[in-house]
C-alpha cells in the first residue's frame, strides 16, 4: 500500500528529476553548450542523437614507420583500423567494438583538433587524442636500431581502394 512520500522518495526525485531535465537540455544545441561547461556532467548526461546529424561514413587506419640509425626511413606499417572483420557472432559477442570505437573517437577528435589549430602542430601534439596514439605507439616493441617513429592517419575508401592521408605526425625520437 502507498503511505505517502518519504525522504527516500524525495531523494529519488532529487537525483532522477534533474538528470532527466539535463538529458532534455543535452538534446538541444544551446542546452548542450550548458551541459558541456561541466566535463563531469557531459560524461554522465546521455546524448541520444545516435549517428546524427552527421554520421561517420568512413573507416580510418593508423600506420606507423621507423627511422633507423643510418637515417633511412622504413615503409609504413599498417597498425590499427576501425574496420576489419567483426566475425559472424558479432550480433551477440563483439569485444572488438571497444578498440574500434576508441580509435574512431580518437581519430575524429584528432582531426577536429588539427582543424581547430590550423596546422599549428605544436598545439595538436599536446592534445589528448595525439598523446593517446603517441603513448600507445611508443610502447610497441621495435628493433634496436630504430631512432625515431612517426604515425599517419588515413581515411579508407570503401571497397579497399587507396585511402586519403589526413595527417602525418612529426618524427619522435625513441
Amino acid at each position: 500500500m502507498f503511505d505517502g512520500p518519504t525522504w527516500i522518495d524525495a531523494f529519488v526525485a532529487l537525483v532522477l528529476g534533474p538528470w532527466f531535465l539535463a538529458t532534455i537540455l543535452n538534446a538541444t544545441t544551446r542546452g548542450r553548450a550548458l551541459v558541456f561547461r561541466s566535463e563531469v556532467l557531459s560524461r554522465l548526461v546521455p546524448q541520444w542523437n545516435f549517428f546524427a546529424p552527421t554520421p561517420g561514413e568512413h573507416d580510418f587506419q593508423l600506420l606507423y614507420r621507423h627511422q633507423i640509425q643510418d637515417g633511412r626511413i622504413e615503409p609504413w606499417c599498417a597498425w590499427h583500423t576501425t574496420g576489419g572483420p567483426r566475425g559472424r557472432c558479432a550480433w551477440l559477442w563483439n569485444p572488438g567494438k571497444y578498440r574500434r570505437k576508441a580509435l574512431f573517437d580518437i581519430t575524429v577528435l584528432l582531426l577536429r583538433e588539427i582543424e581547430r589549430s590550423r596546422d599549428q602542430l605544436d598545439a595538436v601534439k599536446l592534445s589528448i587524442p595525439y598523446l593517446l596514439i603517441a603513448n600507445h605507439l611508443a610502447a610497441l616493441p621495435r628493433p634496436r636500431d630504430v631512432v625515431a617513429w612517426q604515425f599517419t592517419v588515413v581515411r579508407l575508401e570503401r571497397g579497399g581502394g587507396a585511402g586519403e592521408v589526413l595527417f602525418v605526425s612529426d618524427l619522435h625520437a625513441v
Partner: protein, 264 residues
C-alpha cells in the same frame, strides 16, 4: 499469481547486457592498459579534476591498470547478481550500487570509446539502485519506473529528430554511407541499398518516423503498445546483426518492462 515487479524484469535484462559487456571488456582489456589506446595515464590529463588534487589522486587509485581489472570483475559479478537476485533482496542494493559506481568510473575515465548502450546502462543501474533503496510499492520506485520509461522514449524521440534535421538522413545517403563502413557496416546490406537508393531513403524515413512517433506508446491501447515495443526490439536486433551493436539490444530492451508498466 503474484505479478513480477517491473524493475525485476528491467534488472534481469540489464544484468544480462552488463554481464556480456563485462566479459567483452575483459576480453579487450589491453585497450585500457597504461600502454593501450585508452591509457588512463594520458586520459586523466584531459581535466584538472582528473589530473591533480584530491579527486585526481582518488581517481588515479581506482582507474590504474590493476584496480581497473578488478572493477571489470566486480562489474561481471554484480551483473550476475542483477540477473538472479530479486530487487527487494538486501544483496541487490549492494550489487546495483557497485555497478553504478563502476559505470560512473568508466564514464569519468575517458570520453572516448563509450557508446549509447553504456549511457543507457548507467541510467538503468542508478534507477535500479534507487528503486531498491525506495522499497516495494513506494513513490520512489514508481519514479524509477517512470524515469526509465521516459528516458527510453526521449532517446528514440531525440534520435529521430536529429536524423530528420539532417539532409544526409532525409536523402537516404546516411544509411548507405554507414553500411559501407566496416566499423558499423555490412557489405551485403550496403550493396543492396547502394543499388536501391529510393529504398534506402524509404528505410531512413521509416526509422526516424518510427523513432519520433515512439512516445505515443504511452497513449496507445495495450495491444498496439506491445506491437510497438516488438517493432523496436526487431529494430535493435537488425542493428545488432548489421552494425554489431549487440549491447544496445539489451540496454534498450531492458527499458521495455518499465514502459509496459506505465502503459498497462
Amino acid at each position: 499469481m503474484e505479478l513480477m515487479d517491473p524493475l525485476d524484469m528491467v534488472s534481469i535484462l540489464t544484468g544480462a547486457g552488463l554481464l556480456l559487456s563485462a566479459l567483452e571488456t575483459w576480453s579487450s582489456r589491453a585497450v585500457f592498459r597504461h600502454d593501450g589506446l585508452l591509457s588512463w595515464d594520458i586520459s586523466r590529463l584531459q581535466n584538472t579534476w582528473s589530473a591533480a588534487g584530491p579527486t585526481g589522486a582518488l581517481l588515479d587509485v581506482v582507474e590504474r591498470d590493476a584496480t581497473f581489472t578488478v572493477l571489470i570483475l566486480v562489474r561481471g559479478l554484480a551483473a550476475l547478481a542483477l540477473i538472479v537476485v530479486p530487487i527487494d533482496h538486501p544483496l541487490f542494493l549492494g550489487a546495483s550500487g557497485a555497478l553504478a559506481v563502476a559505470l560512473v568510473l568508466l564514464s569519468l575515465r575517458s570520453r572516448y570509446g563509450l557508446d549509447g548502450a553504456h549511457q543507457m546502462f548507467l541510467l538503468l543501474v542508478v534507477a535500479l539502485w534507487l528503486g531498491s533503496l525506495a522499497g516495494p510499492e513506494s513513490l520512489g520506485r514508481r519514479l524509477c519506473v517512470w524515469f526509465i520509461a521516459g528516458q527510453a522514449a526521449l532517446s528514440y524521440l531525440v534520435a529521430g529528430l536529429a536524423k530528420l534535421g539532417s539532409e544526409r538522413w532525409r536523402s537516404g545517403g546516411a544509411l548507405i554511407g554507414i553500411l559501407g563502413t566496416e566499423i558499423y557496416g555490412h557489405a551485403g546490406a550496403h550493396a543492396f541499398f547502394a543499388e536501391r537508393p529510393r529504398l534506402a531513403q524509404l528505410a531512413c524515413w521509416g526509422v526516424f518516423v518510427f523513432e519520433i512517433a515512439f512516445p505515443v506508446v504511452f497513449v496507445l491501447p495495450a495491444e498496439l503498445a506491445v506491437g510497438m515495443l516488438i517493432a523496436a526490439l526487431a529494430f535493435h536486433l537488425v542493428n545488432a546483426v548489421l552494425m554489431g551493436l549487440n549491447t544496445f539490444l539489451f540496454a534498450f530492451a531492458a527499458t521495455y518492462p518499465a514502459i509496459l508498466a506505465v502503459v498497462l
